[in-house]
């Protein structure tokens, strides 16, 4: 641990400083929402760039979202893809699960938070679609390695509380895709501005029987859903 020269900083203060630093970095970014719907998991992020992705595919039924510092969460995303592919290659595809991956991310985030020069300024979400309705899992990871899991919905990134409150009002179990997308986009948007399809990055982990369940919903398809 780095000690400032000649001074004493209490562990409480040190941790608080680090947490504030990470939170500030994350709060600057735009938010992203993961929610379950009737046929899988919806991943929806506000992202004006269509090359620097926030939402991506990890494995057959596992998706990933990151907000905060792009290079940091992208490095974690790639590590997750590598880990999942290695595990599936060494054992079998069905042995790859999101819980294990979420724990690994938590270890890394915790390690950075306490031992490195600066904590990672990221907030992550690992989603797993289950073949059984109602068993989908969302793992929410904070900058300090805290893991939370839910089966309903999660908001990560800036203004998460306000967006979460709007989402809570309109979300319900078993929404169809069209409603789920509208609810998520409505929560991201709020009342005082507009979001067009180009500002959004939307994907689903779809329970349609295909091995690779991750599908991006882009362009006209997204426009039609929001229509």
């Amino acid at each position: 641990m780095n000690m400032p020269l000649g001074g004493y900083v209490s562990p409480e203060q040190l941790m608080k400083d680090r947490a504030d630093y990470a939170r500030k970095g994350i709060a600057r970014g735009r938010a992203a929402i993961a929610s379950t719907y009737a046929d899988g998991v919806l991943l929806c992020a506000e992202n004006p760039s269509n090359t620097l992705r926030k939402v991506s595919e990890i494995y057959d039924r596992i998706g990933f979202m990151g907000v905060g510092k792009y290079n940091e969460f992208d490095q974690l995303r790639i590590a997750g893809v590598r880990h999942a592919d290695l595990k599936g290659y060494s054992f079998s595809r069905e042995d790859v699960d999101a819980r294990w991956l979420a724990n690994q991310y938590a270890q890394i985030l915790g390690q950075y938070f306490t031992h490195e020069m600066k904590p990672l300024e990221v907030e992550l979400l690992v989603a797993e679609m289950s073949p059984e309705v109602g068993d989908d899992r969302l793992f929410h990871l904070l900058y300090d390695g805290t893991v939370m899991d839910t089966t309903s919905h999660v908001v990560i990134g800036g203004e998460a509380e306000a967006i979460g409150a709007r989402l809570e009002e309109s979300w319900s179990v078993g929404l169809q895709l069209r409603e789920a997308v509208r609810v998520a986009v409505g929560a991201l948007t709020g009342s005082d501005r507009e979001l067009v399809p180009d500002d959004l990055e939307v994907a689903v982990l779809s329970r349609d029987g295909e091995r690779r369940s991750f599908r991006r919903i882009e362009g006209d398809d997204l426009g039609e859903l929001l229509g």
Partner: protein, 264 residues
């Protein structure tokens, strides 16, 4: 197994094979020699180019010396959504090569966020065949066919390989394995530039039938067990495997047609 994180100078990039190597998990180089007769071999595969894309087919027999070791082995696989690979040669290394090839394409697509070009996929396979060369010298050769839909050129393309990794693009058709000579003669006689999927599938069924008729290592249709060739079409909609029942219908039609010829 922990999360594989690398410093920028150690990063293996989007290649899964590179990742295995970096982690010391690459399969060991094969040395020594073994009795080739004791090892399972896959035999005849073929691919036919049509205006709709490429048809790939393979018989179902695997042999070890003069034994039939498998009656219902599969030699035609999807490589990813828009390409397929068919293998002949020693079955063990061939299956592993297909598995690694599939994984490598998927891994690249996920890490990079977009798939490799068809040309890039064909070159990847070429490198994999070449890296198997020392094993091939000991009799463990793998000779694949690779075909896919080129989204840029909007046409089906077809590649043949030799055991050194040499990669040859074919305009019309290609065949590999012990029955390749007989099957390619059948295709050669019937191939036209305006072939569609349906006709090409019939040609493929007949080519494999004739190969099985002349080559003991190629398996013919087996109505008793319900085993028929594996046939796949690869067009703009991607890789699609034909249902076994459909191949059975095509085969029955062929057998009826051949039965009418009294000189057989």
């Amino acid at each position: 197994m922990t999360l594989p994180l690398f410093t920028p100078d150690q990063d293996p990039g989007p290649s899964f094979l590179g990742l295995l190597e970096r982690l010391g998990m690459a399969p060991p180089e094969f040395t020594g020699s073994l009795e080739a007769d004791a090892i399972t071999h896959g035999t005849t595969v073929l691919a036919i180019r049509t205006i709709e894309g490429v048809v790939m087919a393979g018989d179902r027999r695997a042999t070890a010396g003069n034994f039939i070791s498998q009656h219902s082995v599969e030699k035609v696989f999807p490589a990813d959504r828009h390409s397929g690979v068919a293998i002949s040669g020693t079955a063990g290394p061939a299956m592993e090569m297909v598995r690694l090839f599939q994984l490598n394409l998927e891994h690249y697509e996920k890490v990079e966020g977009s798939p490799l070009s068809l040309e890039g996929k064909a070159n990847q396979l070429s490198q994999m065949v070449r890296s198997n060369l020392s094993a091939a010298m000991q009799g463990l050769g793998v000779v694949p066919l690779f075909a896919g839909w080129d989204e840029r050129l909007e046409q089906g393309r077809l590649f043949q390989y030799d055991i050194t990794g040499g990669r040859y693009e074919e305009r019309r058709y290609a065949a590999g394995g012990s029955g390749s000579l007989h099957s390619s003669t059948v295709i050669k006689l019937r191939h036209t530039p305006d072939l569609d999927f349906s006709t090409a599938v019939d040609i493929a069924v007949e080519a494999l039938f004739e190969a099985a008729d002349e080559d003991s290592a190629t398996g013919g249709p087996d109505p008793v067990r319900g085993i028929y060739p594996v046939i796949a079409t690869i067009g703009s909609d991607g890789f699609e495997r034909m249902a076994n029942e459909d191949v059975a219908v095509r085969t029955t039609a062929l057998l009826e047609r051949l039965g009418d010829r009294s000189d057989r």
